[in-house]
Symmetry: D2
Subunit: 388 residues, 4 copies
């Protein structure tokens, strides 16, 4: 019993493991949850480097085709949308190529290895007039959305502080293997792009543009065993510690590290304003801590963001029935498909390539501040869009 009148949107996914799995599951789910959806996604193809494994992934996720090279995927005429969930070093090349073929592109974060590369992607997308999005999926956490709503409504008044950490303990064990993430040539950076970029995107989403940064970086373990034997030299930072300044006058700290035992996926932030405060932690992503200044018996309240009147409330389940990490990908894909279908725009609730680029500029500034031991203004590093 299918509904022939609904338009289908062919999707190709570059990658099939890690975060790509979240995208693939979102494709499976989005049109059931957001129903009816004007444009239903159809998984046309997956691409990856191992012919064998990509073939199995295609079977698993129900794709019609499997390509051992992303060029095949973007050449498949059934594909209208590219979800680029490959390693950082294919973000720019595949996205630009896809855009050139007119594909709408949802590219994983960090948008690129450097802000220069990100600027090329941004410009290419503008030239091609495609719909473009950077995979900053935490914008689609209901609690984050509620935080933004409260800030925009002025409930927190003038913002004084934004502090954020993204910590886990995945690299504490010295035997954790060397991967492309430890290789500057492929990854661009270490935890700056991997973790801090998410925190920075939320900083921009919630508080506004970063005007300057001061920072220190560290490599704690500089050699790691390769899976195939031997050792790899780590040339990206294991940790970044920074002070953030915002154009609004707010100040705060930022930290990213994979050397924090007991922290598993600890993206947290706290905002303080003249009217109140709020705090969030991705390990309890259904909750928002909120303090509102008033005269009564007061304190941080733990808002379980599952009520009907909350962002995405009623989309899934009754109050108190919590969502998981991957639900954010369903929300994100829904948002992207609406933009693809012309019902809305990626900005301001989603992150466009411009957002991805802006974030990359701050990432570059962090790296520079750490290397040069000085406060680095951000604005001077920004280049305006140069669409063809």
């Amino acid at each position: 019993m299918t509904d022939g009148s609904v338009r289908q949107v062919g999707i190709g996914v570059l990658g099939y493991e890690g975060v790509a799995k979240a995208h693939l599951l979102a494709i499976q789910r989005v049109s059931t949850i957001f129903w009816p959806l004007p444009a239903r996604p159809l998984l046309v193809a997956v691409a990856g480097r191992s012919a064998d494994r990509v073939e199995r992934a295609a079977q698993r996720y129900g794709a019609q085709a499997a390509y051992p090279d992303w060029r095949g995927l973007i050449d498949d005429r059934r594909v209208q949308v590219l979800i680029n969930a490959g390693p950082n070093d294919v973000h720019a090349e595949a996205s630009v190529a896809g855009a050139a073929r007119g594909l709408h592109v949802l590219c994983e974060k960090p948008l690129a290895r450097t802000s220069t590369e990100a600027a090329q992607m941004r410009d290419a997308a503008a030239t091609a007039r495609i719909v473009h999005m950077t995979g900053y999926n935490y914008r689609f956490v209901p609690a984050v959305r509620l935080a933004r709503q409260l800030i925009r409504e002025g409930r927190l008044g003038r913002i004084y502080h934004f502090r954020t950490r993204y910590c886990d303990d995945s690299m504490v064990d010295p035997s954790a293997p060397y991967s492309w993430r430890h290789d500057k040539a492929r990854a661009g950076s270490g935890v700056i792009g991997d973790l801090a970029a998410h925190a920075l995107d939320l900083a921009r989403f919630l508080v506004g543009e970063v005007s300057a940064v001061s920072a220190t970086a560290r490599i704690f373990i500089d050699r790691r065993p390769r899976r195939d034997g031997g050792e790899g030299a780590v040339d990206v930072e294991d940790a970044i510690e920074a002070v953030l300044e915002f154009t609004t006058g707010a100040v705060g700290t930022l930290e990213a590290s994979s050397f924090c035992p007991g922290r598993k996926n600890f993206l947290s932030f706290e905002v303080n304003g003249s009217g109140g405060s709020l705090a969030f932690n991705l390990e309890r992503l259904n909750e928002l801590e909120l303090f509102v200044r008033d005269d009564g018996a007061n304190g941080f309240r733990t808002v379980l963001v599952t009520e009907a009147h909350h962002p995405y409330g009623g989309t899934w389940w009754p109050p108190g029935h919590i969502l998981g990490w991957e639900h954010t990908f369903v929300h994100q894909l829904h948002h992207f498909l609406l933009a693809v279908g012309g019902q809305s725009t990626v900005e301001p609730d989603g992150a466009s390539f411009e957002d991805g680029y802006r974030c990359a500029v701050v990432c570059d500034a962090l790296d520079r501040a750490a290397r040069e031991g000085r406060r680095v203004p951000v604005e001077g590093l920004v280049t305006p869009m140069k669409p063809g």
Copy 2:
């Protein structure tokens, strides 16, 4: 790209809203997550009372057929498995009828309105030699499974206490409408069957059989507005308060109420034993609080149950990437399908109809203890299975 060699299992779902939605989404997901699955579910049909709405549900969830009467569904020869997610008053009739046709049945909890009715279902299932399961999905929360594992390994030693609450605030508002859940004839009971039954199943799952109960029940608001005008008389309990005694000698309390402002889906328990304690709360279902007696710097530890070595670890995401409420239905369906496929059995990790029946007996005992104002032994109320 489909895999023709995989056996398909036709599923019919009675119901399409509320908890039925969770089952329908689980059907969509289970074979992607647990891949490859020997027997892949195929959603054959949905059934419900409104022809129009059941038709739309069939479209939404991709069912091949829609039946306005569950009898049509169980007569559909493509259906091999019945998921009975209708109101309590169709649990027995439809499940027994399905079993008589040889359908394997996963029936929502409470298994029936009374233990007598539940016994009939249990006996019918045994007679028909079908695979049968009661939808006590919280057995499939990784943290609950870890709790069980720790208890069975003896980490908590001799169990002294099990206390549990299932509270929400859905009925605090006097204008919350009258529904079938307020009607003893249809629901069997109020929060006893709706909420306490879940808590009791976990009590049995974790600690063992309940030997006696003492209880008090209350109706706080005895008339509620009907959606279609007028008022309905509430004749089921709004709250149940009880003392539990276990055959092992452990004692504790049990409570269920929908009159607890701020509690949204607060199924919590705490277990104390000679070796340690553990605590759980469904609103933070990814976490288990654990205290182990030893000599060091000690305290309750918050285990984020997302590690690879945890139950269901690695099935979904890396550590720290939390699961949501509906994931339990995917785990539950996977477990059921394995049993249907003969790879394992429903018991002891899942709840069979026998478990559903046993739980219903304790529910009946709670009701009786509250009415009679005395401690009610449970064992005398249990009838052995009488398969035809």
Copy 3:
């Protein structure tokens, strides 16, 4: 530099260890904190069974005299106030004798071993027209006082539920020694009088009179090593589990046990009403969890009860500077001294002997309900005051 115009109140303390230490420190501090105090306490004497140890205690706490028998203490004409902090079996005898001599009496809880004994104390105090108080010091926790204030102001509306636990892990270790607390003849009861009595007093303080109880009790370890060799037979309950019913219609659970690993001084309660909820835990005694039903972004808020406008706010320190357990004894003594000085009355904020008696009646009802396996109405057990 002393102020000769201030009246001094001579105090004798029965006991010098355990809770008596808290009273002795409160005497040292109360007139400095609540300054100026119309009637300043002067520690005249301490009494205890060991002549040697009581002498050392007198030196330590600056008492003018030390008595190896409490009769000497109450005969000391400088003593105007008796703080009876001895074991339960001297509560009645010493308090009644003190009252007969016209001493004002602050007696530790439980007021007596049985409600019969407590009634005698109450009646003797009324006959002697002394100021009398039962040491339910948790009424003087600022957060508890705030809870009471919020309830009385109607912020919680109609109260539906009061549930409470007082748990610790002091008896989990089988080698924890036998003491007078395990001896029914001396202690009257086990955790009922030791722990549950506190919880019941808070129940009465916050919600009102208990109308009926259902209960189960357990002795988990029935023999314990004596400090002086050999074993003692435990004949009081290790745990009590109960259902409470209040005259207002509220219902809830009560539990007390020393077999809860990881719980150290865990006196907790949660109240639910039509307007909101609040929760408390003595291990975080500076905090009150509060939920108020309204339309906004809502959740339990953690009120750090240290603000100037909170109960006892400004008495000690600025906001955020937390109080400890023994501060409640300073508040309690201050309250008692005001009553002794005629500036106020013990009731309703403090617990009188009548309150101590009423609590003892509920304790007796718990014991009876557990033994008889039936719901026991409380009111029928209450005897009116019979002053001479």
Copy 4:
């Protein structure tokens, strides 16, 4: 009943409000809690600027004399110990003068307005060979002491991160009045000396010397109403945000601000090492969050630091009976009196003037880093001791 054989130590206290009150109460209590104490403190005199108020304070706290000028106090021959709890601008002058008279000095933090001034105090104390201590009382929080113990035992392995915040909301309200704390001439700095200094002392206590800092400071509200009318110009920082680098290679962030609504006395830190992590927050000062890497069911455990085997365990109360903020002053005074009595030394568990000086150097470095927008190495700013 006094013990004539105990030596008494005459104490003079400069100040009688705010933190001075905590010192005065500690004098009252220390010899009762730590009993018997070889040298019992006797409160000889208090000093302050208002003759009338200092007289009343002397009555309240039982001092033998009251001086409207601290010079009178240090000239009183009964005084052997000076507790300098006056505003920052009398720290150096009074402490140096007291040292010159041979008084042992416990001086409040920050030791001085600048590191230059602090160096003078340090040198004067060394010249005079007195016992000297800086009032970094949070070293005497049992949970902090346990943290230090765990780190020194190597339980956390190699330390990677130390991050700390000291936040409150005392200045969010624009009508919060102007005081000496807003005046650089009197206070030396704003939150750097008031709040960050505590955090830095803990950093040094737990992890070691700070090698470099990067920072940003802000004044959010630059004019405040004076209590006596008119406005005062705020010329000290309202907030400081910094990156810390340690000589051990550890890195982290530091923040201090009084513009954080809902934070009341929120001095928190988190330490991550190769073996585990720990976290602390002064608003819950009885608790330490501890994560130890091992193979089992793991997570941050909340250690309620009140057990007999914990630091200061058994000094006050049984497990679970929490301490308050001012207890740290009793511990600190005990420690100081032992040093005065020659039973131990101030270092390493207490903060000497050298520690106070070292902390002041880092405070200066923060200020300089913020002003100059660059990473400032600390070691070059340190001057060695120059005793006369």
